[in-house]
């Protein structure tokens, strides 16, 4: 539906800025550095990354609020932006709905007026009649459960209500695409949690196509159909939430999403779907790798703490087993982490809080081969 091709946005560099590239005479900084993806009909597509990774710039470029320096943005057959052909449709002609991080509720208007604004400013030929505007506004206010507040000044709403008002305003024109720029980041933790499901429900029920920008990995995992993880202006990986989590393609993705144990290793044998690697603490087996490495490659193993099984008795019958001594443990409420020294390695394991092993105890760690992910060394 929406296609973004080699999108780039660069600035004249200022001192100390990162991501430089030397060109003929000037140094330019790339906020977005060649991003490609496409968003499918009816999906919630998330741009996820740390602050400054270029996700918001990408979203704003799609919205038309920022002019990229290179690349193309298409919506179906409609070209919205094409640097090579000098096409740049203005934001107000793109017909998207957008929810801003600050909500950007107009404080001088009532709740109703805020929502009706996108309809009010339509060109004369397309603008619906007064009655229809009223109907549509009330309809959308009902959907987001603000129907009773229509005549209130917008500033009299609570944070969560303002957030929903911003959503209503974006929805009222029934846009083909919704752009959501960290819409939940200004809410408190409890409300944020419930709004996640609320937003997801709305998106599914109204069959909305949406691009969602967030730096919160759990938000991204809960809500998205697909996630693009961004770093330093580039996309590191695009995939379904489960893929991203269990099969990170790069060290950055593995580090950014959840926690991981990273172990350097060398590939010693490749047989079918099974890869054997040699670490400083012995041999490990990895299974179901998305890409088969070559023999002799140096790779990085990424092992999630919850995939590491810790017990005081040896298992004996499993392929990937180490023994070591518990160094520290940390109680997290719903889980407990043990950090175990295995030779020169430190392995973090996460288990049910009923398992609590005092530091200094000899323990045995094991990992199922399909839980060992091979990541390229940067």
């Amino acid at each position: 539906m929406l296609t973004v091709e080699s999108l780039a946005k660069s600035y004249e560099s200022s001192a100390g800025a990162a991501r430089r590239r030397k060109s003929a005479d000037s140094t330019r900084v790339f906020a977005v550095d060649g991003v490609d993806f496409d968003v499918r009909d009816g999906e919630l597509f998330t741009l996820l990354g740390p602050s400054g990774c270029g996700k918001t710039t990408t979203l704003r470029s799609i919205a038309g609020l920022e002019q990229p320096t290179a690349g193309r943005v298409r919506l179906g057959d409609r070209v919205l932006f094409d640097a090579a052909r000098g096409v740049n449709l203005r934001a107000n002609r793109r017909g998207f709905g957008m929810v801003f991080q600050s909500y950007a509720i107009w404080p001088h208007m009532s709740v109703f007026k805020n929502v009706s604004f996108p309809l009010d400013v339509m060109p004369r030929g397309k603008r619906p009649g007064r009655k229809e505007i009223e109907e549509r506004v009330h309809q959308v206010l009902d959907v987001i459960e603000l129907g009773a507040y229509a005549s209130r000044p917008a500033t009299k709403l609570s944070g969560g209500q303002q957030q929903r008002l911003a959503l209503a305003r974006a929805l009222v024109t029934r846009p083909e695409l919704m752009l959501l720029d960290e819409p939940l980041s200004n809410l408190d933790a409890k409300l944020r949690e419930s709004m996640r499901f609320e937003l997801k429900r709305l998106q599914r029920e109204l069959n909305l196509t949406a691009i969602y920008v967030t730096h919160d990995q759990s938000e991204a995992l809960v809500m998205s159909n697909r996630i693009a993880v961004m770093n330093e202006g580039r996309i590191e990986q695009i995939g379904k939430p489960r893929e991203i989590y269990t099969r990170p393609a790069t060290r950055f993705v593995a580090e950014f999403i959840g926690t991981s144990n990273f172990i350097e290793a060398r590939v010693v044998s490749v047989t079918g779907g099974e890869v054997a690697v040699e670490t400083t603490q012995g041999r490990l087996i990895a299974r179901e790798c998305p890409r088969t490495p070559a023999l002799g490659d140096t790779v990085l193993l990424s092992i999630r703490p919850e995939s590491v099984d810790v017990s005081t008795a040896p298992r004996g019958d499993v392929p990937n087993e180490w023994s070591g001594k518990v160094r520290t443990r940390a109680f997290l409420g719903d889980a407990i982490d043990h950090i175990t020294g295995v030779g020169d390695l430190e392995i973090r394991s996460r288990s049910n809080p009923t398992v609590s092993i005092p530091p200094g105890t000899e323990v045995h760690l094991s990992v199922a081969p399909d839980k060992v992910t091979l990541v390229p060394v940067d």
């Binding site: 080699s6 780039a8 004249e12 060109s23 330019r28 790339f30 550095d33 060649g34 991003v35 490609d36 993806f37 919205a63 038309g64 609020l65 002019q67 320096t69 290179a70 690349g71 094409d82 640097a83 090579a84 052909r85 000098g86 934001a91 107000n92 002609r93 793109r94 017909g95 957008m98 801003f100 600050s102 950007a104 107009w106 001088h108 604004f117 996108p118 400013v121 305003r169 974006a170 024109t173 752009l179 693009a228 580039r234 996309i235 590191e236 990986q237 695009i238 995939g239 893929e243 099969r247 393609a249 790069t250 998305p290 890409r291 088969t292 490495p293 490659d297 790779v299 091979l374 390229p376």
Partner: protein, 599 residues
């Protein structure tokens, strides 16, 4: 390495567009056409028009000033003759410059010390009468410089002044106070400017994070050490910029040196320019040369201030957040500080206003005695009411003031949008140009404008329009400050969300921007109206008989020695200004941080 996941996006560096150029390179005619189309849109016309007007207002007079000053007598070549006439020979340029600098430095120092101490006491201590501070801070707004100076003549005249006749004569048998001296000028100007410093420093004190001081206290520093080693260094940038602003304002002041200095032949730049233009034959070149000298010193002051602030920006104490620090407990000193506040209020507000009212009730001014108190009447007021010129002047003041306020605020709201919200090339230059009039003293502007319109075929010389042009130029920087701070306070997302909602530029401007900026624009509008009412220094060179405004009428009374009529007129003017300012407050306009000018 061969382990890249299938899902990894292709890396950058293989863009189809060659090179990371700043913008795509469409064909040349296509680009020209696109540019033309943009310029001809409504937005283009509005923005372009505003830019042209600002450039015209701010730069053309200066161009003419320089041109006419360097022109030789035959009008064919460059010469420095004007400068030698202005500064050489028996022009006493040396003492004039010393007086100027001494007056400006002294006034700035007095205003800085008073303003800073008052701000500290107001913001950081539990002093009584906190409300009086802000009442006192309105003085420069509602009592114009010319009236303030007149009041101090009534108070400090060596022979008939209230202070000498009622305090020193009976007690010590001497009359040491002479307001017609450099010290007198410094006193009056400094007191008149102190509230402006006060407001600037209050803002600085409030914007300072108190935890910076608290952590010093937690480190074991005594209060005096904290003050010396933390508070003052952190406030230094604010103090520097405040004092330079005061310096430039004093340098440009015409009212105080004009009223207090001319009498004893104490000249400063501004009064010298006025003197040169009053002599016959009028030597425009010499006046221009003096104006350029003044302009250069003022510009140097402003540049220095900008430079000092830039170098101190790396320790920003101003976070834009207002803090509510816990006030210092004054303890046993509290009644003394309270008494000090009362005395300050009496001396700077009550006394000058009271003496003005007193004088307005007399036939001839004399220090208060049983005889004068007995002869008080409202005769002056009835004279003012029967003066046909008074109503013309009031009407003219209103027309020009309302016109200038409206024009400036409309212009600056567009210009500040260009400066703050677009990435248009040259927007910084535009900002700078809109601010240049701040270094142009009123008298210099008046002179420059008369050069322009004596020459140009536009027939506005000798009409009210020339005053309107002058006021628009003078108050452009203040208008900019109001509009741009109103715009800066507004999140750009509010406009962006309108754009994403489908609103065109003009719809966004009219339906989102203007309503949200309205209180800032209104505040600026009233402020400009108020300061236009008192504008004297450029008006005095541009008005023509029959086109007087209120401030000129007051000046004429002074020149004719009609002090008591002047006082009555002055009281009326103060009342009008009080009315305007209170309407503004009722409407929710806030002066203070932005309102930092006084003529």
């Amino acid at each position: 390495m061969a382990l890249a996941s299938t899902a990894t996006a292709p890396r950058g560096g293989d863009h189809e567009t060659p090179g990371p150029g700043p913008s795509p390179e469409p064909t040349a005619p296509g680009r020209l056409l696109a540019l033309l189309r943009r310029l001809l849109s409504f937005q283009g016309l509005l923005v372009g028009g505003a830019v042209v007007i600002v450039g015209y207002l701010a730069l053309v007079p200066l161009g003419y000033l320089v041109h006419d000053t360097f022109l030789n007598s035959t009008g064919t070549g460059v010469s420095l003759g004007a400068f030698s006439r202005a500064y050489g020979g028996n022009s006493q340029a040396g003492s004039m410059m010393l007086n100027s600098l001494g007056f400006a430095l002294g006034s700035a120092a007095l205003a800085l010390v008073l303003g800073t101490v008052l701000a500290y006491v107001q913001v950081r201590t539990d002093t009584p009468f906190k409300g009086l501070f802000f009442a006192a801070s309105l003085v420069p707004l509602i009592v114009p410089g010319i009236l303030y100076a007149t009041s101090w003549i009534f108070l400090g005249d060596p022979s008939s002044g209230v202070i000498n006749t009622l305090v020193f004569k009976p007690l010590f048998g001497t009359a040491p106070v002479n307001i017609f001296s450099v010290w007198g000028m410094i006193w009056v100007q400094g007191l008149h400017l102190a509230p402006v410093t006060f407001l600037l420093m209050v803002a600085a004190f409030r914007a300072m994070d108190p935890s910076l001081e608290e952590s010093a206290a937690m480190s074991g520093a005594r209060r005096s050490t904290v003050l010396r080693r933390i508070t003052v260094p952190l406030l230094r940038p604010a103090m520097i910029s405040a004092s330079l602003l005061m310096f430039v304002q004093s340098l440009e002041s015409f009212e105080v040196p004009g009223l207090l200095g001319l009498q004893n032949g104490i000249y400063v730049f501004t009064s010298r320019i006025y003197f040169v233009l009053r002599a016959y034959p009028i030597d425009y070149g010499a006046a221009g040369a003096l104006a350029i000298g003044l302009l250069l010193i003022a510009a140097a002051g402003v540049l220095l201030s900008g430079w000092l602030q830039r170098s101190s920006r790396n320790f920003q104490t101003v976070t834009g957040k207002a803090f509510r620090p816990r006030p210092v407990d004054l303890g046993r000193a509290r009644p003394w500080v309270g008494a000090g506040v009362i005395v300050y209020f009496l001396v700077t507000v009550v006394l000058p206003v009271a003496v003005l009212v007193y004088a307005s009730l007399l036939k001839y001014y004399a220090a208060p005695s049983r005889k004068t108190l007995g002869s008080m009447s409202l005769e002056n007021y009835s004279e003012v009411l029967h003066m046909p010129l008074a109503f013309t002047a009031l009407k003219n003041s209103l027309i020009v003031g309302v016109g200038a306020a409206t024009a400036v605020m409309l212009l600056t709201s567009v210009v500040s949008w260009v400066v703050l919200r677009t990435k248009a090339p040259g927007r910084r230059v535009l900002d700078l140009v809109a601010f240049t009039p701040i270094v142009i003293p009123g008298l210099v502007l008046g002179l420059a404008l008369s050069f322009v319109y004596l020459r140009m075929p536009l027939p506005i010389y000798g009409t009210l329009l020339i005053l309107l042009v002058s006021y628009c130029t003078r108050y452009l920087p203040y208008g900019m400050r109001y509009s741009s701070s109103a715009m800066a306070q507004m999140s750009p997302e509010l406009e962006e969300s309108a754009a994403v909602s489908g609103a065109s530029w003009f719809q966004t401007f009219r339906r989102v921007l203007l309503p949200l900026m309205s209180s800032g624009i209104l505040a600026g509008w009233v402020y400009i109206l108020v300061v236009s009412f008192r504008e004297l220094s450029s008006t005095i060179l541009l008005y023509s008989p029959g086109k007087e405004v209120l401030s000129v009428l007051i000046w004429e009374q002074f020149e004719n020695g009609q002090f008591t009529t002047l006082a009555a007129l002055g009281v009326c003017m103060v009342l009008i200004l009080v009315l305007l300012v209170s309407i503004a407050y009722r409407l929710g306009a806030r002066f203070g941080l932005q309102g930092d000018s006084s003529n």
